[in-house]
Symmetry: C2
Subunit: 175 residues, 2 copies
DNA sequence: CAAAGAATATATTGACTCGATATATATTAT
DNA sequence: ATAATATATATCGAGTCAATATATTCTTTG
């Protein structure tokens, strides 16, 4: 899976600009997939050259012009090839957890700060996902619902573990 | 956080070779951080040039020679700089969840396969983490314990959501 | 005993990706 | 007015991965 597969998936419903794609990814996919403009724009150029998508320049009122990209039949075929291919391993990279792993080398109060910051960020993320679920549930596919439930339950379990951990670490600190 | 910070953290306890570092990362950190040889070896060369680590060639019996790297005072200082710096955002990239998100474009039985494969991999991962916890708990720091608990609870919550989801999707399929 | 496979060990390359930066227009708020 | 925000595209350096290459030693298996 690379950004090409995700872009094709997003174009299956509607034609989109590079900017639209970034926005959609941030809104709906960011808790398990994301791409920067530095990935999206060069990839769109490459995909157009390969005939997976077509570009159309669209004039807009009150906004700069945009390049609207549409998926071709070759693109649809390529997307299905991806969906039938073997599943790749998940990769989770967490700076907060890396710090927890090396926590013994700094003062305990620093690690309490890391835990509390990690907890807050997880809470913010959970609220966003819950709101997204409320807003989009009617038009979500069954597998999309599983997807967001995994995100929500994951956040909830992290909040639980972190809250417990903070209490325990503060007790250790006081003794 | 980049691979330099993780390598320095691993060298805080013992001197290690590039190969040792890869092995340690896979055993203890792989559920939230990882690096390939293509990252580790060039990074070690760079860090040696910068005086963060020193290299020593060690003869071994029954094994090829190895380059043993040790952290310098400058390296220890650099590592603490990292530990006191602002926390970066987590990034989670999941191919399985990306497929779930786009599940509407392929047959339901394909998505059942994706869910079952995802479930199995999560179960394998959970077992590995539980075993690691049992094996290492006595020598783990308090924050390392929180770290692995997050990993274990995360897997457990995913297993729960996936199991529910598979049942629901199979019911939808039969109707 | 020979051959194959696994483990140890280091290194390189191409492709992918991110974050920062640059540029430009239009709308909204102060 | 002018600052900030939203829309929109593009590029570059740095970091990273997966695959590949090379070489030695130990273990297993036929």
């Amino acid at each position: 899976m690379n950004s090409q597969d995700v872009i094709l998936g997003l174009l299956m419903h509607h034609s989109l600009s590079g900017y639209d794609i970034k926005h959609k990814m941030e809104t709906f996919l960011s808790y398990f997939n994301n791409a920067s403009f530095g990935t999206i724009y060069p990839m769109l150029s490459k995909m157009e050259k390969e005939g997976l998508i077509t570009k159309e320049s669209v004039m807009q009122e009150g906004k700069p012009n945009k390049n609207l990209y549409s998926i071709t039949e070759a693109g649809q075929y390529q997307f299905k090839q991806y969906m039938y291919s073997p599943i790749e391993n998940d990769e989770f990279k967490s700076d907060a957890m890396t710090r927890l792993f090396f926590g013994e080398f700094v003062e305990a109060h620093i690690m309490v700060d890391v835990l509390e910051e990690f907890l807050n960020r997880t809470k913010v993320n959970l609220e966003r996902l819950r709101q997204l679920y409320v807003d989009c549930q009617p038009e979500m596919s069954p597998t999309q619902e599983i997807c967001i439930q995994i995100g929500i339950h994951n956040s909830e379990s992290k909040i639980h573990t972190l809250t417990q951990g903070i209490t325990r670490l503060k007790n250790v600190e006081q003794k």
